[in-house]
């Protein structure tokens, strides 16, 4: 089996994914400059959040990295760009997830030490930052890509 063919299936996925990430980045930059809130389904972008413009710029560049990496994906430099684009999403979304998890554990101010189970579960209810929703879309394809690469290498050897 040709290793290059394995990437063909993913390049379309990453092209679409990269454009979505890029658009979210642009939306966050626009909201941070114009103010207000933008809600779409479970997603929310609000100018009250800290460092929104910084986050928007990171997602914009991440989207550019991912979309620019879909051409000739068998090239290791392109794959590196793809990996870094996804890591950038993790640096934004992963930290938001960490903040969400850590924020859900202690009880309310002036209240109990720890949250009750129902409050803990409720704290994971939406709306969510878009970068948080992007996280699962970065994990699965990267894992598949990695496995395909390993399989391709072992067949070559």
């Amino acid at each position: 089996m040709n290793v290059n063919k394995n990437y063909g299936a993913f390049s379309g996925y990453f092209a679409v994914f990269g454009i979505i990430v890029l658009l979210i980045g642009v939306a966050e930059i626009i909201v941070s400059l114009t103010g207000g809130c933008f809600e779409y389904g479970p997603l929310i972008v609000c100018d009250e959040e800290d460092f929104l413009i910084w986050r928007g710029l990171i997602l914009l560049f991440s989207g550019l990295f991912i979309t620019s990496s879909v051409n000739n994906m068998s090239d290791v430099h392109q794959q590196a760009k793809l990996v870094m684009g996804n890591i950038m999403i993790w640096l934004v979304g992963g930290m938001a997830l960490l903040g969400m998890i850590l924020g859900s554990i202690p009880g309310p101010e002036d209240g109990t030490w720890f949250n009750t189970f129902s409050d803990l579960v409720a704290s994971y209810g939406g709306p969510y930052m878009p970068s948080l929703v992007l996280l699962p879309f970065t994990v699965i394809p990267v894992l598949i890509l990695y496995r395909t690469r390993i399989r391709g290498q072992s067949k070559k050897n």
Partner: protein, 421 residues
């Protein structure tokens, strides 16, 4: 005796037996290493890493401080709290002992609705809360991420990336190490300036980081006191770092050589190394900073009781209110800042003032003077060659400092007016 030809023959023989030749295949790790140092791709990646650093710092420090230490010290519905409990132990709330060790008696009145943790002001109350409840979690979060960056090999890449920018102000990429260390604590950062080659670079870096870079402890307290403005304050201070760096580079004679850096490959951090480094740095904080912090509160409370702070406030009022537009009560935190800047920021949170005055005061505390530990370290580093050199170091730093306080501190007042804060 072997001739050159014979030596080369032996070398060829050995290398023929030991070295295998082939085409090197670039791995993903190599390619990632490459794109993290190229400015076009490296700068956006650096932006993301620093965002991750900052978010991690805020999330972890906030988890411990707001989630648990505020309740432990201030109390909650189900728990009395260390500070109210200490208030109950001494019956005479007007005694000097109470005012120094426990704090302001008004805070312990039944109808008091303010933030008891920051506003009590005693050695054993606010002093301990800031040291253990605010600064310790901040230091833990900061060093954990910092060590991770060091041990993965990202930090030298950041040095390469930032080299061009630093070179414009007479420094080079290695300056990023003391700069980032300084965001944790200025003391090891001053020691880390030894990796800069010339005296000019070292003097510039020490002066700039002591004045413009807030330490991790101070950042932790800033997150509590002015949570929405910390990013803006850091940007303003960093801008000052580069503006005054540029000016110092033009004024100070000496050379700034270019950098040649061997960048190590990326590797997975070893948990044992991370744990050991983290413990060494936290132990350093526990041993050196906490006693100083408590001593700082003790001295300021003592000066309050003796009337020295009020006297100083009277003298300083024209400058503080006229030039900086901050209340005269800011004098006390400015004195504390000499001992511990983090504690000084905490004290600012207890003074009644507008948001713009609070922001200016927080910036003034950063600019005003290096804390005593940093000053001692600067003197030690400056004095290591000769007394004359040390004296020049000290005088130069002080002159730079006064110019910075008046220009950069005063300018902020007008920027905040224009920004409508």
């Amino acid at each position: 005796m072997l001739s050159d030809e014979q030596k080369w023959e032996i070398i060829d023989n050995i290398s023929g037996k030991t070295v295998t030749y082939g085409e090197y295949r670039t791995t993903i790790k190599d390619a990632v290493a490459e794109i993290t140092v190229k400015p076009l791709t490296g700068i956006p990646i650096a932006m993301a890493v620093l965002y991750g650093f900052w978010s991690f710092f805020g999330a972890v420090a906030g988890f411990f401080t707001d989630g648990f230490f505020v309740k432990l010290f201030g109390g909650s519905e189900t728990f009395i709290g260390i500070i109210p409990w200490l208030g109950e132990q001494l019956s005479n709330h007007q005694s000097s002992l109470f005012k120094i060790f426990i704090g302001d008696p008004n805070v312990f009145l039944p109808d008091y609705a303010g933030d008891i943790c920051f506003e009590a002001g005693g050695v054993l109350t606010t002093g301990l809360f800031v040291a253990l409840g605010v600064v310790l979690p901040a230091i833990f979060a900061f060093y954990l991420f910092m060590i991770f960056m060091e041990d993965t090999g990202y930090l030298p890449r950041l040095a390469v990336l930032i080299d061009t920018l630093f070179y414009k102000i007479g420094l080079h990429g290695f300056a990023v190490v003391p700069m980032i260390l300084s965001f944790g604590c200025n003391v090891p950062a001053v020691a880390a300036t030894r990796n800069l080659e010339t005296e000019k670079e070292r003097f510039m870096m020490m002066s700039l980081l002591a004045v413009f870079i807030p330490c991790g402890a101070q950042l932790g307290v800033m997150l509590e006191v002015v949570p929405g403005y910390v990013g803006m304050i850091i940007l303003y201070l960093l801008l000052g770092f580069f503006v005054f760096g540029y000016v110092l580079n033009k004024l100070i004679p000496g050379r700034s050589p270019e950098m040649l850096l061997d960048v190590p490959p990326y590797h997975r951090p070893r948990w044992n190394n991370v744990r050991r480094k983290l413990w060494t740095r936290i132990r350093g904080f526990l041993v050196s900073a906490i006693p100083l912090m408590l001593l700082g509160v003790f001295l300021v409370n003592g000066l309050y009781l003796l009337g020295v702070i009020d006297w100083l406030a009277d003298i300083m009022t024209p400058i503080l209110t006229g030039w900086f537009d901050v209340p005269s009560e800011t004098v006390a935190p400015l004195i504390t800042a000499f001992m511990r800047k983090d504690l000084a920021v905490a004290q600012l949170g207890a003074i009644e003032m507008t948001m713009s005055q609070l922001i200016t005061s927080v910036v003034l505390v950063s600019l005003y003077f290096p804390c005593v530990a940093t000053l001692a370290m600067i003197l030690k580093e400056g004095w290591q060659h000769s007394v004359k050199e040390g004296f020049v170091f000290l005088m130069g730093s002080l002159v730079a400092l006064f110019v910075v306080i008046f220009l950069w501190g005063g300018l902020l007042r007008w920027i905040l007016v224009l920004a409508g804060v």
